[in-house]
């Protein structure tokens, strides 16, 4: 009986703690976007195999050759990635060099995706276990990072790129090159 009583008081304390936590979280504003802590930091080391046979893969060294680039995190299974395809095309036409990282994908699906929605990329690495994605501080697909010529992340765009975002991203890319 004594043990039961102790157990119950512990339970009351745990439940009370939970309620305090709930109350605290209720008062916190919900932010939908989580900025990566990696902005302003150099890229982590990575070397990804090509996501499809006909294009090169992606490593950290490729992004530190002096030329600023966009890194687009995408997946063939992701619906917003289809929606942002025309904007990536616009960015490419405006002179941006875009490389892709395909998350948890299969070569045939990536090939299909590129065939259906266009291929703005100059290289695509395959990130099968989201490892590079997580190291970049990305919490979902699609996301786009601006990398300066020295392999440092200078800007992060979360979610699909809408037409109104194109100018901002081009500006950030120019800034990274300066």
């Amino acid at each position: 009986m004594k043990r039961l009583r102790i157990f119950l008081w512990v339970l009351v304390a745990v439940v009370g703690g939970l309620f305090v936590l709930f109350g605290y979280q209720l008062t916190q504003p919900k932010d939908e976007f989580i900025q990566s802590a990696m902005v302003g930091e150099p890229l982590p080391d990575f070397d990804l195999r090509p996501a499809i046979d006909t294009m090169p893969g992606l490593s950290k060294a490729d992004l530190a050759d002096g030329k600023p680039r966009l890194v687009n995190i995408f997946a063939s299974w992701c619906l917003p990635c289809r929606a942002e395809a025309p904007q990536l095309e616009t960015l490419r036409a405006a002179g941006a060099d875009i490389v892709g990282i395909a998350i948890r994908d299969r070569p045939e699906d990536v090939a299909m995706f590129l065939q259906l929605y266009g291929n703005p990329f100059t290289a695509i690495g395959a990130d099968d276990i989201s490892q590079v994605q997580l190291e970049l501080g990305s919490s979902g697909v699609p996301e786009t990072f601006v990398i300066d010529g020295n392999g440092v992340i200078t800007y992060q765009h979360i979610g699909d790129i809408r037409p109104e975002h194109v100018q901002t991203i081009l500006y950030q890319l120019r800034e990274a090159g300066a």
Partner: protein, 654 residues
């Protein structure tokens, strides 16, 4: 005027609940001076039930005639909607569903007040008081922050309609089914509090509580099965369980109710596990309220988009704190007076049921931790999400041994049994398991979890039927039939889950009209793609002829559908159901070169998951009928005995 009538009825209900609470306390005191007050508890509950039903009837009427001067109707209905969706629209939104909740709660309260005669009078009064106390909180919530009868002035010319995704007959009845289940658990909670207040945790108390738990459990089972099937065919992802917070919110009360059901059985039959049953009674209702809180407050991110409101979240949290915190503190204070109950050995029916209870509680803890963990780490600014890689293997640790015990447990006698007695049956089951395990493994080397799943499904299926051995089937109590059917349903559902996980095949192709697509034993031919339009949507529809192992082709029509008010895209998948599985076809977009994206899945035995779930619910319903009919017969017999006594007394006097 009509809407105000509903509102007045609701305020009166709240006042009556206050009266019922006071009368219940007076009855609990038991002093002669307050007897008159205590007598009011039952009538208060009965009138409350009538008034609540009237209030809900008013809301139904307002939706039926589409009275647009009422805010709720204007926001959620439309005069052109079919009548069935007008009516279901009345509880397809927050305010209406809360009104439905309190109505069912009041009806349940009225039912106890009118019919329950087995509890000692003081416990009965305490139960009614506790019930009123819980109801009062919900009335306050409804009247102060979610008034369904609020007027809108000026009245708009037309209503805002209902989300087209929700214009689905299955979905119209999915939330109320879960709510009815939650209310059933609230009644069990009130009875537990009543028994704690009067220190009457007895087998009789468990017998009174049992039908409510059974009913709640059956409805929760149906609700979860229906929700899982809806997600499967409407979301177009081909999965049937996503460990989403909203799914977990429905699963946790079910796990607690399952444990409670079994421990209440032990208490009713053997007067053991008293403290445990009380604790589970509190936990089961806590989980229902926690689920409602998580879903309605928007505190967790989920794929299920609900209209969330932090003020309502705070209100539910306050109720949660008062009821759950209060009940736990009461239990802690009374712990010393809940006697330990009868002893039993490990090798007994009780022993097996304790294993079942511990395993279910552990799974509940795992799901609870996984669901709340992101919330906990977020307080320290660390963002994580918890998914299948955690839930599947960690819950399997407890599910697998529990299933072994499920296969054997019902064979054991109460109180004390010997292993020697069941050894032949046990060895036969183990032998069967070994044969299935080796056979399936050699035939198709599948992953370890589905392999164990299929093995255990076979063992549970046979084990669940063994209690029928050597019994006169026509004279077997309905409750035993219920147990056998429900346990068999577990095996069926488990087999479906394991087979679908291990053997499903998937093809994604870009096809021209005339192309042939093969997946597993199926061959599909894309015969054509045409645009079609409905009353409030447009879609492209494929004609896909599929044939199983070269047999007669069946024409299917998967659609990619776009609604325009509000703009929503849905995937209307085409399903071909066979006894041994389902072909699942979804249509995607068209490429620039004119080819269509077609996705085909062959999902062997996937439908068995839901058949199994329904069998489990059917078993519960049969057990419930069995319990109620036994109770009715006993009452009839008691009345006969009482009549005879009166007769004899009269004859002796005359």
């Amino acid at each position: 005027m009509i809407a105000e009538l509903g509102l007045v009825a609701l305020w009166l209900c709240a006042a009556l609940a206050g009266l019922q609470l006071v009368a219940g306390i007076a009855g609990l005191q038991g002093s002669a001076g307050l007897a008159g007050l205590a007598m009011l508890a039952r009538p208060a509950a009965l009138v409350q039930a009538l008034l609540c039903a009237l209030s809900f009837g008013v809301l139904l009427y307002l939706f039926a005639v589409t009275d647009l001067s009422v805010n709720l109707v204007a926001m959620n209905s439309h005069s052109d909607k079919p009548m069935i969706f007008k009516l279901s629209g009345s509880f397809g939104n927050h305010e209406g569903s809360m009104l439905l909740w309190v109505t069912v709660m009041a009806l349940a309260g009225g039912l106890i007040a009118a019919l329950e005669r087995r509890l000692p009078e003081r416990t009965m009064m305490a139960t009614l008081g506790a019930q009123a106390f819980v109801a009062l909180g919900f009335y306050a919530f409804l009247l102060l922050s979610s008034n369904p009868f609020e007027r809108l002035s000026p009245a708009p010319a037309q209503g805002n309609g209902l989300n087209p995704l929700l214009q689905d007959i299955g979905l119209a009845f999915h939330p109320p089914t879960l709510y009815f289940g939650y209310v059933g658990l609230s009644v069990a909670f009130s009875i537990v509090v009543g028994a704690l207040l009067t220190r009457q945790v007895t087998p009789e108390f468990a017998r009174v509580m049992r039908p409510w738990i059974l009913g709640a459990w059956v409805l929760l089972t149906i609700g979860i099965v229906a929700g899982s099937y809806w997600a499967y065919y409407e979301l177009g992802w081909g999965g049937w369980w996503f460990w989403d917070p909203v799914e977990n919110a429905a699963l946790m009360p079910w796990l607690a109710a399952t444990a409670l059901l079994h421990s209440a059985s032990v208490l009713a039959s053997r007067d053991a596990l008293r403290a445990w049953t009380v604790l589970l009674g509190v936990i089961a209702f806590s989980m229902s309220m926690l689920g409602t809180f998580l879903v309605r407050s928007g505190i967790l991110t989920s794929v299920h988009a609900f209209a969330v409101d932090p003020e309502r979240g705070s209100f539910i949290l306050a109720l949660l704190t008062i009821y759950i915190g209060g009940a736990l503190v009461l239990f802690a204070l009374r712990a010393g007076t809940v006697a330990e109950g009868e002893r039993f050995t490990v090798m007994s029916r009780e022993g097996a049921l304790v294993v079942n209870n511990v395993a279910l509680s552990a799974i509940l803890g795992i799901v609870l931790l996984g669901t709340l963990y992101p919330l906990l780490t977020e307080a320290f600014d660390v963002r994580v999400s918890v998914g299948p890689p955690y839930f599947n293997p960690v819950s399997a640790i407890f599910v697998l041994p529990m299933l072994v015990v499920l296969a054997v447990g019902p064979l054991l006698h109460w109180r004390r049994d010997s292993f020697a007695r069941i050894r032949p049956m046990f060895l036969a089951l183990v032998g069967l398991g070994a044969v299935v395990l080796l056979g399936v493994w050699l035939w198709s080397g599948i992953a370890i979890l589905p392999l164990l799943g299929i093995t255990l499904a076979a063992m549970v299926a046979v084990g669940s039927l063994l209690p029928l051995r050597g019994r006169n089937l026509r004279r077997m109590p309905l409750a035993v039939w219920g147990m056998v059917i429900a346990h068999f349903g577990v095996a069926v559902a488990l087999f479906g889950m394991a087979a679908d996980t291990a053997y499903q095949q998937e093809r994604l192709v870009a096809a021209n009209v005339g192309d042939i697509i093969e997946v597993g034993p199926w061959t599909g031919t894309l015969a054509g793609v045409v645009p079609v339009s409905g009353p409030n949507w447009q879609s492209i529809e494929a004609s896909l002829a599929v044939s199983y192992k070269g047999g007669e082709p069946i024409m299917t029509h998967p659609q990619a559908r776009a609604f325009w008010s509000p703009p929503t895209e849905t995937s209307e998948v085409a399903l071909v159901t066979r006894w041994n599985g389902q072909l699942y076809a979804a249509l995607g977009n068209q490429a620039e070169d004119g080819r269509w994206q077609v996705r085909l899945w062959w999902k062997p035995f996937v439908t068995w998951i839901w058949y199994g779930g329904l069998l489990i619910a059917l078993g519960g319903a049969i057990a419930l009928m069995g319990r109620l009919s036994v109770d009715l017969r006993r009452r009839w017999a008691q009345r006969k005995i009482a009549d005879r006594k009166v007769d004899q007394a009269e004859r002796a006097a005359g």
